[in-house]
Protein backbone atom coordinates (compact mmCIF):
# COMPACT_ATOMS: atom_id res chain seq x y z
CA UNK A 1 0.00 0.00 0.00
CA UNK A 2 3.06 2.22 -0.16
CA UNK A 3 2.09 3.43 -3.61
CA UNK A 4 -1.35 4.86 -2.89
CA UNK A 5 0.11 8.26 -1.98
CA UNK A 6 1.80 8.66 -5.37
CA UNK A 7 0.42 11.42 -7.58
CA UNK A 8 -1.84 10.25 -10.36
CA UNK A 9 0.54 10.83 -13.31
CA UNK A 10 2.99 8.27 -11.93
CA UNK A 11 0.32 5.61 -11.70
CA UNK A 12 -0.97 3.58 -14.63
CA UNK A 13 -3.71 1.95 -12.55
CA UNK A 14 -5.40 3.14 -9.39
CA UNK A 15 -8.20 1.07 -7.89
CA UNK A 16 -10.00 1.79 -4.62
CA UNK A 17 -12.65 -0.28 -2.90
CA UNK A 18 -13.43 -2.31 -6.02
CA UNK A 19 -16.38 -4.65 -5.64
CA UNK A 20 -18.12 -6.99 -8.03
CA UNK A 21 -21.03 -9.25 -7.17
CA UNK A 22 -22.73 -11.85 -9.34
CA UNK A 23 -26.12 -12.11 -7.71
CA UNK A 24 -25.53 -12.93 -4.05
CA UNK A 25 -21.96 -14.10 -4.72
CA UNK A 26 -19.32 -11.43 -4.26
CA UNK A 27 -16.32 -12.30 -6.46
CA UNK A 28 -14.35 -9.15 -5.61
CA UNK A 29 -14.81 -7.73 -2.13
CA UNK A 30 -13.29 -4.29 -1.94
CA UNK A 31 -9.76 -4.29 -3.31
CA UNK A 32 -7.23 -1.46 -3.63
CA UNK A 33 -4.47 -1.55 -6.23
CA UNK A 34 -1.86 0.91 -7.44
CA UNK A 35 0.35 0.10 -10.42
CA UNK A 36 3.21 2.41 -11.39
CA UNK A 37 3.92 3.30 -14.98
CA UNK A 38 6.54 1.05 -16.55
CA UNK A 39 6.39 -1.73 -13.99
CA UNK A 40 5.35 -5.35 -14.34
CA UNK A 41 2.59 -5.99 -11.82
CA UNK A 42 1.33 -9.49 -11.08
CA UNK A 43 -2.02 -10.32 -9.55
CA UNK A 44 -1.35 -13.72 -8.05
CA UNK A 45 -3.94 -16.07 -6.66
CA UNK A 46 -5.55 -19.49 -6.84
CA UNK A 47 -8.30 -20.30 -9.33
CA UNK A 48 -11.57 -18.61 -8.42
CA UNK A 49 -9.87 -15.91 -6.33
CA UNK A 50 -11.26 -13.06 -8.45
CA UNK A 51 -8.26 -12.50 -10.75
CA UNK A 52 -10.08 -12.67 -14.07
CA UNK A 53 -13.01 -10.62 -12.78
CA UNK A 54 -10.59 -7.91 -11.64
CA UNK A 55 -8.56 -7.81 -14.85
CA UNK A 56 -11.72 -7.79 -16.98
CA UNK A 57 -13.08 -4.81 -15.03
CA UNK A 58 -9.80 -2.99 -15.70
CA UNK A 59 -9.99 -3.89 -19.40
CA UNK A 60 -13.56 -2.61 -19.69
CA UNK A 61 -14.99 -6.06 -20.45
CA UNK A 62 -17.01 -6.17 -17.25
CA UNK A 63 -18.93 -3.70 -15.14
CA UNK A 64 -18.44 -3.36 -11.39
CA UNK A 65 -20.82 -3.04 -8.49
CA UNK A 66 -18.70 -0.66 -6.44
CA UNK A 67 -15.46 1.27 -6.01
CA UNK A 68 -13.45 3.59 -8.21
CA UNK A 69 -11.16 2.55 -11.06
CA UNK A 70 -8.79 4.80 -12.94
CA UNK A 71 -6.58 3.35 -15.67
CA UNK A 72 -4.34 5.73 -17.64
CA UNK A 73 -6.67 8.50 -16.47
CA UNK A 74 -9.78 6.76 -17.83
CA UNK A 75 -12.66 4.91 -16.25
CA UNK A 76 -12.75 1.64 -18.25
CA UNK A 77 -16.50 1.25 -17.67
CA UNK A 78 -17.11 4.20 -20.01
CA UNK A 79 -15.82 2.24 -23.03
CA UNK A 80 -13.98 5.26 -24.38
CA UNK A 81 -12.23 4.78 -27.67
CA UNK A 82 -9.32 6.93 -26.46
CA UNK A 83 -8.80 4.42 -23.65
CA UNK A 84 -8.88 1.36 -25.89
CA UNK A 85 -6.31 2.99 -28.17
CA UNK A 86 -3.77 2.92 -25.33
CA UNK A 87 -4.22 -0.60 -23.95
CA UNK A 88 -3.46 -4.06 -25.28
CA UNK A 89 -5.45 -7.05 -24.09
CA UNK A 90 -4.42 -10.68 -24.17
CA UNK A 91 -7.32 -12.88 -23.14
CA UNK A 92 -7.14 -16.54 -22.25
CA UNK A 93 -8.99 -17.44 -25.47
CA UNK A 94 -7.42 -16.52 -28.80
CA UNK A 95 -10.39 -15.04 -30.65
CA UNK A 96 -8.75 -14.47 -34.01
CA UNK A 97 -10.39 -15.35 -37.34
CA UNK A 98 -8.99 -18.76 -38.22
CA UNK A 99 -9.02 -18.21 -41.96
CA UNK A 100 -6.75 -15.15 -42.04
CA UNK A 101 -2.98 -15.45 -42.24
CA UNK A 102 -0.81 -14.37 -39.31
CA UNK A 103 0.29 -11.25 -41.22
CA UNK A 104 -3.28 -10.34 -42.20
CA UNK A 105 -4.56 -10.78 -38.66
CA UNK A 106 -1.83 -8.54 -37.24
CA UNK A 107 -2.48 -5.94 -39.96
CA UNK A 108 -6.23 -6.06 -39.39
CA UNK A 109 -5.79 -5.26 -35.70
CA UNK A 110 -3.03 -2.71 -36.38
CA UNK A 111 -5.55 -0.84 -38.48
CA UNK A 112 -7.76 -0.19 -35.44
CA UNK A 113 -5.10 1.94 -33.73
CA UNK A 114 -3.86 5.46 -34.45
CA UNK A 115 -0.14 4.66 -33.98
CA UNK A 116 0.33 0.92 -34.50
CA UNK A 117 3.63 -0.87 -34.01
CA UNK A 118 5.20 -1.93 -37.35
CA UNK A 119 4.06 -5.41 -38.35
CA UNK A 120 7.55 -6.90 -38.60
CA UNK A 121 8.43 -5.56 -35.15
CA UNK A 122 5.29 -7.17 -33.71
CA UNK A 123 6.08 -10.52 -35.32
CA UNK A 124 9.71 -10.34 -34.17
CA UNK A 125 8.72 -9.62 -30.55
CA UNK A 126 6.77 -12.89 -30.40
CA UNK A 127 8.98 -14.88 -32.79
CA UNK A 128 6.41 -15.53 -35.51
CA UNK A 129 8.30 -14.05 -38.50
CA UNK A 130 8.48 -17.43 -40.20
CA UNK A 131 4.72 -17.98 -39.87
CA UNK A 132 3.73 -14.65 -41.49
CA UNK A 133 1.86 -16.27 -44.40
CA UNK A 134 0.52 -19.22 -42.45
CA UNK A 135 -3.24 -19.43 -41.83
CA UNK A 136 -4.13 -18.96 -38.17
CA UNK A 137 -5.92 -22.32 -38.09
CA UNK A 138 -2.73 -24.15 -39.08
CA UNK A 139 -0.65 -22.76 -36.19
CA UNK A 140 0.33 -24.98 -33.27
CA UNK A 141 -1.23 -24.25 -29.87
CA UNK A 142 1.88 -22.44 -28.68
CA UNK A 143 2.08 -20.38 -31.88
CA UNK A 144 -1.57 -19.38 -31.50
CA UNK A 145 -0.87 -18.14 -27.99
CA UNK A 146 2.07 -16.13 -29.30
CA UNK A 147 -0.13 -14.66 -32.02
CA UNK A 148 -2.57 -13.82 -29.25
CA UNK A 149 0.15 -11.73 -27.59
CA UNK A 150 1.14 -10.26 -30.97
CA UNK A 151 -2.41 -8.96 -31.47
CA UNK A 152 -2.26 -7.36 -28.03
CA UNK A 153 0.96 -5.60 -29.08
CA UNK A 154 -0.32 -4.44 -32.46
CA UNK A 155 -1.50 -1.04 -31.24
CA UNK A 156 1.79 -0.29 -29.43
CA UNK A 157 -0.04 -0.01 -26.08
CA UNK A 158 1.14 1.94 -23.03
CA UNK A 159 -0.41 -0.75 -20.85
CA UNK A 160 -0.70 -4.43 -21.57
CA UNK A 161 -3.10 -6.83 -19.81
CA UNK A 162 -2.11 -10.48 -19.80
CA UNK A 163 -4.64 -12.87 -18.29
CA UNK A 164 -2.82 -16.07 -17.29
CA UNK A 165 -0.39 -15.81 -20.21
CA UNK A 166 1.32 -19.17 -19.72
CA UNK A 167 -1.44 -21.47 -18.44
CA UNK A 168 -1.10 -24.79 -20.23
CA UNK A 169 2.40 -24.05 -21.60
CA UNK A 170 5.20 -26.57 -21.52
CA UNK A 171 8.34 -25.42 -19.64
CA UNK A 172 10.18 -24.29 -22.78
CA UNK A 173 7.21 -22.27 -24.02
CA UNK A 174 6.87 -20.65 -20.60
CA UNK A 175 10.52 -19.53 -20.68
CA UNK A 176 9.91 -18.00 -24.13
CA UNK A 177 6.78 -16.23 -22.92
CA UNK A 178 8.67 -14.85 -19.93
CA UNK A 179 11.42 -13.60 -22.20
CA UNK A 180 8.76 -11.89 -24.30
CA UNK A 181 7.28 -10.15 -21.25
CA UNK A 182 10.74 -8.98 -20.18
CA UNK A 183 11.23 -7.56 -23.68
CA UNK A 184 7.96 -5.69 -23.30
CA UNK A 185 9.04 -4.23 -20.00
CA UNK A 186 12.29 -3.04 -21.54
CA UNK A 187 10.28 -1.06 -24.13
CA UNK A 188 8.66 0.88 -21.27
CA UNK A 189 5.27 -0.83 -21.48
CA UNK A 190 3.41 -1.24 -18.21
CA UNK A 191 2.36 -4.86 -17.80
CA UNK A 192 -0.52 -6.09 -15.63
CA UNK A 193 -0.59 -9.85 -15.52
CA UNK A 194 -2.63 -12.40 -13.64
CA UNK A 195 -1.24 -15.79 -12.82
CA UNK A 196 -1.67 -18.70 -10.48
CA UNK A 197 1.99 -19.65 -10.90
CA UNK A 198 4.09 -18.33 -8.10
CA UNK A 199 7.38 -18.69 -9.95
CA UNK A 200 5.95 -16.64 -12.80
CA UNK A 201 5.17 -13.74 -10.48
CA UNK A 202 8.57 -14.12 -8.82
CA UNK A 203 10.43 -14.17 -12.15
CA UNK A 204 8.62 -11.35 -13.90
CA UNK A 205 6.98 -8.97 -11.51
CA UNK A 206 8.36 -5.82 -9.95
CA UNK A 207 5.44 -6.00 -7.57
CA UNK A 208 2.95 -8.70 -6.65
CA UNK A 209 -0.48 -8.55 -5.07
CA UNK A 210 -1.84 -11.82 -3.73
CA UNK A 211 -5.59 -12.17 -4.10
CA UNK A 212 -7.73 -14.83 -2.43
CA UNK A 213 -11.44 -14.96 -1.81
CA UNK A 214 -11.89 -11.62 -3.59
CA UNK A 215 -9.51 -9.73 -1.27
CA UNK A 216 -5.90 -8.60 -1.55
CA UNK A 217 -4.14 -10.41 1.27
CA UNK A 218 -0.57 -9.25 0.62
CA UNK A 219 1.21 -6.81 -1.64
CA UNK A 220 4.82 -5.85 -2.34
CA UNK A 221 7.90 -6.84 -4.31
CA UNK A 222 8.52 -10.59 -4.44
CA UNK A 223 11.62 -10.03 -2.25
CA UNK A 224 9.79 -7.94 0.34
CA UNK A 225 6.99 -10.48 0.53
CA UNK A 226 9.50 -13.22 1.23
CA UNK A 227 11.55 -11.15 3.71
CA UNK A 228 8.47 -9.87 5.50
CA UNK A 229 8.38 -13.41 6.71
CA UNK A 230 11.32 -13.80 9.11
CA UNK A 231 10.80 -17.46 9.81
CA UNK A 232 13.43 -20.07 9.00
CA UNK A 233 12.74 -23.71 8.34
CA UNK A 234 15.02 -26.35 9.91
CA UNK A 235 14.58 -29.93 8.77
CA UNK A 236 16.33 -33.21 9.61
CA UNK A 237 15.66 -36.88 10.14
CA UNK A 238 15.49 -38.23 13.69
CA UNK A 239 18.34 -40.73 14.20
CA UNK A 240 17.41 -43.86 16.17
CA UNK A 241 20.17 -43.21 18.77
CA UNK A 242 18.55 -39.95 19.85
CA UNK A 243 15.23 -41.48 20.70
CA UNK A 244 16.50 -42.56 24.08
CA UNK A 245 17.33 -38.98 25.12
CA UNK A 246 14.61 -36.53 26.16
CA UNK A 247 13.55 -34.51 23.12
CA UNK A 248 14.27 -30.76 23.41
CA UNK A 249 11.16 -28.52 23.47
CA UNK A 250 12.02 -27.07 20.04
CA UNK A 251 11.03 -30.40 18.44
CA UNK A 252 7.30 -30.13 18.56
CA UNK A 253 6.47 -33.08 16.39
CA UNK A 254 8.18 -36.06 14.80
CA UNK A 255 6.54 -37.52 11.70
CA UNK A 256 5.98 -41.28 11.42
CA UNK A 257 8.90 -41.65 9.03
CA UNK A 258 11.19 -39.77 11.45
CA UNK A 259 11.18 -36.42 9.66
CA UNK A 260 11.29 -33.29 11.78
CA UNK A 261 10.32 -29.83 10.50
CA UNK A 262 10.73 -26.79 12.71
CA UNK A 263 9.73 -23.26 11.77
CA UNK A 264 11.42 -20.68 13.90
CA UNK A 265 11.92 -16.96 14.21
CA UNK A 266 15.15 -17.55 16.18
CA UNK A 267 17.15 -19.91 13.97
CA UNK A 268 20.46 -19.43 15.78
CA UNK A 269 19.13 -20.24 19.23
CA UNK A 270 17.10 -23.19 17.94
CA UNK A 271 20.04 -24.62 16.00
CA UNK A 272 22.28 -24.30 19.05
CA UNK A 273 19.79 -26.26 21.16
CA UNK A 274 19.49 -28.94 18.53
CA UNK A 275 23.22 -29.34 17.87
CA UNK A 276 24.02 -29.42 21.61
CA UNK A 277 21.43 -32.16 22.00
CA UNK A 278 22.86 -34.21 19.09
CA UNK A 279 26.44 -33.45 20.20
CA UNK A 280 25.75 -34.73 23.72
CA UNK A 281 24.51 -38.00 22.20
CA UNK A 282 27.46 -38.09 19.79
CA UNK A 283 25.31 -38.53 16.68
CA UNK A 284 24.82 -36.67 13.39
CA UNK A 285 21.47 -35.18 12.43
CA UNK A 286 20.92 -36.78 9.01
CA UNK A 287 19.65 -34.60 6.13
CA UNK A 288 19.94 -31.42 8.18
CA UNK A 289 18.88 -28.37 6.17
CA UNK A 290 18.33 -24.79 7.20
CA UNK A 291 16.37 -22.63 4.76
CA UNK A 292 14.49 -19.38 4.61
CA UNK A 293 10.75 -19.76 4.11
CA UNK A 294 10.20 -19.39 0.35
CA UNK A 295 7.62 -17.19 -1.30
CA UNK A 296 5.72 -20.40 -1.95
CA UNK A 297 5.50 -21.20 1.78
CA UNK A 298 4.24 -17.71 2.44
CA UNK A 299 1.80 -17.82 -0.44
CA UNK A 300 0.31 -21.13 0.68
CA UNK A 301 0.12 -19.93 4.27
CA UNK A 302 -1.63 -16.73 3.27
CA UNK A 303 -4.08 -18.44 0.94
CA UNK A 304 -4.86 -21.13 3.53
CA UNK A 305 -5.39 -18.52 6.24
CA UNK A 306 -7.68 -16.48 3.99
CA UNK A 307 -9.68 -19.57 3.04
CA UNK A 308 -10.06 -20.45 6.72
CA UNK A 309 -11.38 -16.93 7.36
CA UNK A 310 -13.67 -17.21 4.35
CA UNK A 311 -15.05 -20.53 5.61
CA UNK A 312 -15.63 -19.10 9.08
CA UNK A 313 -17.64 -16.17 7.72
Amino acid sequence: MTTSHLPSPDLAIRVAGLRMAYGPHEAVRGIDLAVRRGEVFALLGPNGAGKTTTVEILEGHRSRTGGTVEVLGHDPARHERAYKERIGIVLQSTGIDRYLTVGEAVDMFRGYYPHPRPREEVLALVGLEAQRDERVRRLSGGQQRRLNVAIGLAGDPDLMFLDEPTTGFDPAARRQAWEMIRNLRSTGTTVFLTTHYLDEAEQLADRVAIIAGGRIIAEGSPQSLASGQTRTVIQFRMPAALCVLPVPPEVAEVADDGRVRIETAEPTRTLLALTRWAGDAGVELPNLTVSRATLEDIYLQLVDASEAVGAAE
Binding site: R81, K84, S93, D97, Y99, L100, E104, G155
Partner: protein, 252 residues
Protein backbone atom coordinates in the same frame (compact mmCIF):
# COMPACT_ATOMS: atom_id res chain seq x y z
CA UNK B 1 -13.16 1.79 -41.34
CA UNK B 2 -16.21 -0.33 -42.12
CA UNK B 3 -15.08 -0.97 -45.70
CA UNK B 4 -11.64 -2.05 -44.51
CA UNK B 5 -13.24 -4.51 -42.10
CA UNK B 6 -15.56 -5.85 -44.82
CA UNK B 7 -12.47 -6.55 -46.94
CA UNK B 8 -10.98 -8.78 -44.21
CA UNK B 9 -14.32 -10.49 -43.60
CA UNK B 10 -14.67 -11.08 -47.36
CA UNK B 11 -11.21 -12.67 -47.57
CA UNK B 12 -11.92 -14.90 -44.58
CA UNK B 13 -15.38 -15.85 -45.89
CA UNK B 14 -14.05 -17.30 -49.13
CA UNK B 15 -11.33 -19.22 -47.33
CA UNK B 16 -13.90 -21.23 -45.40
CA UNK B 17 -14.98 -23.44 -48.28
CA UNK B 18 -17.71 -25.33 -46.41
CA UNK B 19 -19.55 -22.23 -45.23
CA UNK B 20 -19.22 -20.42 -48.58
CA UNK B 21 -20.29 -23.51 -50.49
CA UNK B 22 -23.47 -24.12 -48.50
CA UNK B 23 -24.48 -20.46 -48.49
CA UNK B 24 -24.39 -20.51 -52.28
CA UNK B 25 -25.34 -24.06 -53.10
CA UNK B 26 -28.69 -24.39 -51.34
CA UNK B 27 -30.54 -21.57 -53.12
CA UNK B 28 -29.04 -22.54 -56.49
CA UNK B 29 -29.88 -26.20 -55.92
CA UNK B 30 -33.49 -25.33 -55.10
CA UNK B 31 -33.71 -23.05 -58.14
CA UNK B 32 -32.56 -25.85 -60.44
CA UNK B 33 -34.73 -28.55 -58.83
CA UNK B 34 -37.93 -26.51 -58.73
CA UNK B 35 -37.47 -25.38 -62.29
CA UNK B 36 -36.74 -28.92 -63.42
CA UNK B 37 -39.87 -30.28 -61.75
CA UNK B 38 -42.41 -27.46 -62.04
CA UNK B 39 -40.74 -24.84 -64.24
CA UNK B 40 -42.95 -25.16 -67.31
CA UNK B 41 -46.32 -25.26 -65.52
CA UNK B 42 -48.60 -22.34 -66.23
CA UNK B 43 -49.48 -20.40 -63.14
CA UNK B 44 -51.83 -17.52 -62.66
CA UNK B 45 -50.30 -14.22 -61.66
CA UNK B 46 -52.00 -10.86 -61.18
CA UNK B 47 -52.92 -9.78 -64.71
CA UNK B 48 -52.69 -13.13 -66.51
CA UNK B 49 -50.75 -16.39 -66.57
CA UNK B 50 -47.02 -17.06 -66.67
CA UNK B 51 -44.57 -19.95 -66.48
CA UNK B 52 -43.70 -21.11 -62.97
CA UNK B 53 -40.04 -20.11 -63.53
CA UNK B 54 -41.24 -16.51 -63.31
CA UNK B 55 -42.28 -17.33 -59.76
CA UNK B 56 -39.24 -19.35 -58.74
CA UNK B 57 -36.60 -16.78 -59.65
CA UNK B 58 -37.85 -14.06 -57.25
CA UNK B 59 -38.82 -16.72 -54.66
CA UNK B 60 -35.29 -18.12 -54.65
CA UNK B 61 -33.96 -14.56 -54.56
CA UNK B 62 -35.91 -14.18 -51.30
CA UNK B 63 -34.43 -17.46 -50.06
CA UNK B 64 -30.95 -16.18 -50.96
CA UNK B 65 -31.45 -13.17 -48.69
CA UNK B 66 -32.60 -15.39 -45.83
CA UNK B 67 -29.73 -17.81 -46.37
CA UNK B 68 -26.99 -15.19 -46.40
CA UNK B 69 -28.32 -12.46 -44.12
CA UNK B 70 -30.22 -14.53 -41.56
CA UNK B 71 -28.95 -18.12 -41.48
CA UNK B 72 -25.31 -17.60 -42.39
CA UNK B 73 -24.97 -14.38 -40.37
CA UNK B 74 -26.56 -15.87 -37.23
CA UNK B 75 -24.40 -19.00 -37.41
CA UNK B 76 -21.11 -17.27 -38.15
CA UNK B 77 -21.66 -14.60 -35.49
CA UNK B 78 -22.46 -17.31 -32.92
CA UNK B 79 -19.24 -19.10 -33.86
CA UNK B 80 -17.31 -15.83 -33.60
CA UNK B 81 -18.92 -15.08 -30.25
CA UNK B 82 -18.06 -18.46 -28.74
CA UNK B 83 -14.53 -18.41 -30.18
CA UNK B 84 -13.93 -15.12 -28.39
CA UNK B 85 -13.63 -13.12 -31.64
CA UNK B 86 -16.36 -10.65 -30.63
CA UNK B 87 -14.87 -10.15 -27.18
CA UNK B 88 -11.46 -9.58 -28.69
CA UNK B 89 -12.81 -6.92 -31.07
CA UNK B 90 -14.65 -5.28 -28.19
CA UNK B 91 -11.31 -4.68 -26.46
CA UNK B 92 -9.96 -2.67 -29.42
CA UNK B 93 -10.73 0.89 -30.50
CA UNK B 94 -12.86 -0.38 -33.42
CA UNK B 95 -16.38 0.82 -32.51
CA UNK B 96 -18.80 -2.11 -31.98
CA UNK B 97 -21.29 -0.64 -34.46
CA UNK B 98 -18.56 -0.49 -37.13
CA UNK B 99 -17.71 -4.14 -36.62
CA UNK B 100 -21.33 -5.32 -36.78
CA UNK B 101 -21.99 -3.09 -39.79
CA UNK B 102 -19.08 -4.81 -41.53
CA UNK B 103 -20.47 -8.26 -40.69
CA UNK B 104 -23.85 -7.18 -42.13
CA UNK B 105 -22.11 -5.58 -45.09
CA UNK B 106 -20.38 -8.87 -45.88
CA UNK B 107 -23.56 -10.96 -45.89
CA UNK B 108 -25.38 -8.28 -47.90
CA UNK B 109 -22.64 -8.45 -50.53
CA UNK B 110 -22.91 -12.23 -50.52
CA UNK B 111 -26.71 -11.99 -50.92
CA UNK B 112 -26.36 -9.52 -53.83
CA UNK B 113 -23.86 -11.80 -55.56
CA UNK B 114 -26.12 -14.78 -55.02
CA UNK B 115 -29.19 -12.94 -56.35
CA UNK B 116 -27.20 -11.83 -59.40
CA UNK B 117 -26.38 -15.48 -60.09
CA UNK B 118 -30.00 -16.55 -59.49
CA UNK B 119 -31.41 -13.87 -61.82
CA UNK B 120 -28.76 -14.54 -64.49
CA UNK B 121 -29.37 -18.27 -64.34
CA UNK B 122 -33.13 -17.62 -64.55
CA UNK B 123 -32.66 -15.46 -67.61
CA UNK B 124 -30.17 -17.70 -69.41
CA UNK B 125 -31.44 -21.18 -68.51
CA UNK B 126 -35.16 -20.65 -67.94
CA UNK B 127 -35.98 -17.66 -70.15
CA UNK B 128 -37.21 -15.48 -67.30
CA UNK B 129 -37.12 -11.85 -68.35
CA UNK B 130 -35.09 -9.57 -66.11
CA UNK B 131 -37.19 -6.68 -64.80
CA UNK B 132 -36.49 -3.28 -66.31
CA UNK B 133 -38.99 -0.64 -65.18
CA UNK B 134 -39.45 -2.50 -61.87
CA UNK B 135 -35.68 -2.84 -61.28
CA UNK B 136 -35.49 0.05 -58.74
CA UNK B 137 -38.34 -1.56 -56.76
CA UNK B 138 -36.56 -4.94 -56.91
CA UNK B 139 -33.26 -3.49 -55.67
CA UNK B 140 -34.94 -1.47 -52.90
CA UNK B 141 -36.84 -4.57 -51.73
CA UNK B 142 -33.64 -6.63 -51.71
CA UNK B 143 -31.76 -4.04 -49.65
CA UNK B 144 -34.57 -3.48 -47.12
CA UNK B 145 -34.99 -7.26 -46.81
CA UNK B 146 -31.25 -7.78 -46.35
CA UNK B 147 -31.21 -5.21 -43.56
CA UNK B 148 -34.23 -6.79 -41.85
CA UNK B 149 -32.90 -10.35 -42.12
CA UNK B 150 -29.52 -9.18 -40.77
CA UNK B 151 -31.12 -7.43 -37.78
CA UNK B 152 -33.16 -10.57 -37.04
CA UNK B 153 -30.07 -12.72 -37.58
CA UNK B 154 -28.15 -10.77 -34.95
CA UNK B 155 -31.15 -10.81 -32.60
CA UNK B 156 -31.54 -14.59 -32.90
CA UNK B 157 -27.95 -15.21 -31.75
CA UNK B 158 -29.21 -14.28 -28.27
CA UNK B 159 -31.39 -17.40 -28.39
CA UNK B 160 -28.50 -19.67 -29.35
CA UNK B 161 -26.79 -21.05 -26.24
CA UNK B 162 -23.69 -22.32 -28.03
CA UNK B 163 -22.10 -23.05 -31.39
CA UNK B 164 -23.42 -26.62 -31.54
CA UNK B 165 -26.97 -25.38 -31.08
CA UNK B 166 -26.71 -22.79 -33.86
CA UNK B 167 -27.78 -24.94 -36.85
CA UNK B 168 -30.90 -26.44 -35.20
CA UNK B 169 -32.08 -23.14 -33.71
CA UNK B 170 -31.45 -21.04 -36.82
CA UNK B 171 -32.72 -23.61 -39.31
CA UNK B 172 -35.62 -24.38 -37.00
CA UNK B 173 -36.77 -20.81 -37.53
CA UNK B 174 -35.83 -20.34 -41.19
CA UNK B 175 -36.96 -23.66 -42.74
CA UNK B 176 -40.64 -23.69 -41.67
CA UNK B 177 -40.93 -20.08 -42.81
CA UNK B 178 -39.39 -20.93 -46.17
CA UNK B 179 -42.08 -23.60 -46.61
CA UNK B 180 -45.09 -21.47 -45.65
CA UNK B 181 -44.00 -18.10 -47.03
CA UNK B 182 -44.71 -18.45 -50.76
CA UNK B 183 -41.19 -19.59 -51.59
CA UNK B 184 -40.92 -23.39 -51.82
CA UNK B 185 -44.68 -23.78 -52.15
CA UNK B 186 -46.93 -21.24 -53.86
CA UNK B 187 -49.28 -19.46 -51.48
CA UNK B 188 -52.41 -20.55 -53.40
CA UNK B 189 -51.59 -24.22 -52.74
CA UNK B 190 -51.63 -24.03 -48.94
CA UNK B 191 -54.64 -23.57 -46.62
CA UNK B 192 -55.69 -19.95 -46.02
CA UNK B 193 -54.87 -20.11 -42.30
CA UNK B 194 -51.28 -21.01 -43.16
CA UNK B 195 -51.09 -17.93 -45.37
CA UNK B 196 -52.51 -15.79 -42.61
CA UNK B 197 -49.90 -17.21 -40.21
CA UNK B 198 -47.12 -16.63 -42.74
CA UNK B 199 -48.25 -13.02 -43.26
CA UNK B 200 -47.38 -12.27 -39.65
CA UNK B 201 -43.71 -12.87 -40.48
CA UNK B 202 -41.60 -10.83 -42.89
CA UNK B 203 -40.58 -13.59 -45.29
CA UNK B 204 -43.84 -13.92 -47.28
CA UNK B 205 -43.81 -10.13 -47.73
CA UNK B 206 -40.26 -10.27 -49.05
CA UNK B 207 -41.15 -13.03 -51.49
CA UNK B 208 -44.33 -11.33 -52.72
CA UNK B 209 -42.71 -7.93 -53.13
CA UNK B 210 -39.93 -9.50 -55.20
CA UNK B 211 -42.49 -11.45 -57.27
CA UNK B 212 -44.28 -8.24 -58.17
CA UNK B 213 -41.06 -6.92 -59.66
CA UNK B 214 -40.83 -10.04 -61.81
CA UNK B 215 -44.50 -10.11 -62.86
CA UNK B 216 -44.53 -9.52 -66.66
CA UNK B 217 -47.99 -7.89 -66.36
CA UNK B 218 -46.86 -5.30 -63.82
CA UNK B 219 -47.37 -1.93 -65.48
CA UNK B 220 -46.38 0.32 -62.58
CA UNK B 221 -42.97 0.75 -61.00
CA UNK B 222 -43.57 -2.31 -58.80
CA UNK B 223 -43.07 -0.73 -55.38
CA UNK B 224 -45.06 -2.77 -52.85
CA UNK B 225 -45.20 -0.20 -50.09
CA UNK B 226 -47.38 -2.28 -47.73
CA UNK B 227 -45.05 -5.25 -47.97
CA UNK B 228 -42.02 -2.99 -47.57
CA UNK B 229 -43.58 -1.41 -44.47
CA UNK B 230 -44.10 -4.84 -42.84
CA UNK B 231 -40.55 -5.90 -43.74
CA UNK B 232 -39.10 -2.67 -42.36
CA UNK B 233 -41.18 -2.95 -39.18
CA UNK B 234 -39.68 -6.40 -38.57
CA UNK B 235 -36.26 -4.87 -39.18
CA UNK B 236 -36.90 -2.34 -36.43
CA UNK B 237 -38.11 -5.12 -34.10
CA UNK B 238 -34.98 -7.16 -34.90
CA UNK B 239 -32.75 -4.18 -34.27
CA UNK B 240 -34.36 -3.38 -30.92
CA UNK B 241 -34.12 -7.02 -29.83
CA UNK B 242 -30.48 -7.17 -30.96
CA UNK B 243 -29.64 -3.94 -29.12
CA UNK B 244 -31.24 -5.32 -25.98
CA UNK B 245 -30.12 -8.96 -26.01
CA UNK B 246 -27.02 -9.27 -28.22
CA UNK B 247 -23.96 -10.43 -26.24
CA UNK B 248 -20.27 -10.18 -27.05
CA UNK B 249 -19.12 -12.64 -24.41
CA UNK B 250 -18.63 -16.33 -25.22
CA UNK B 251 -21.20 -18.56 -23.54
CA UNK B 252 -20.39 -21.95 -22.11
Amino acid sequence: MVLRQIRYEWVAFWRNPAAAFFTFVFPLLFLVIFNMVFGNAEISVPGGTARASTFYVPAIAAMSIVNACFTSLAMSVTISRDAGVLKRVRGTPLPPWAYLTARIGLVTLVALLLITIVVSLGALAYGVSVPTHTMPAFILTVLVSAATCSALGLAVTALVPNTDAAPPVVNGIALPLLFISDIFVRAERVPPWVNRLADVFPLSHISEALQTAFNPFEVGSGFEWTHLAVIAAWGVVGMLLALRFFTWEPRQ
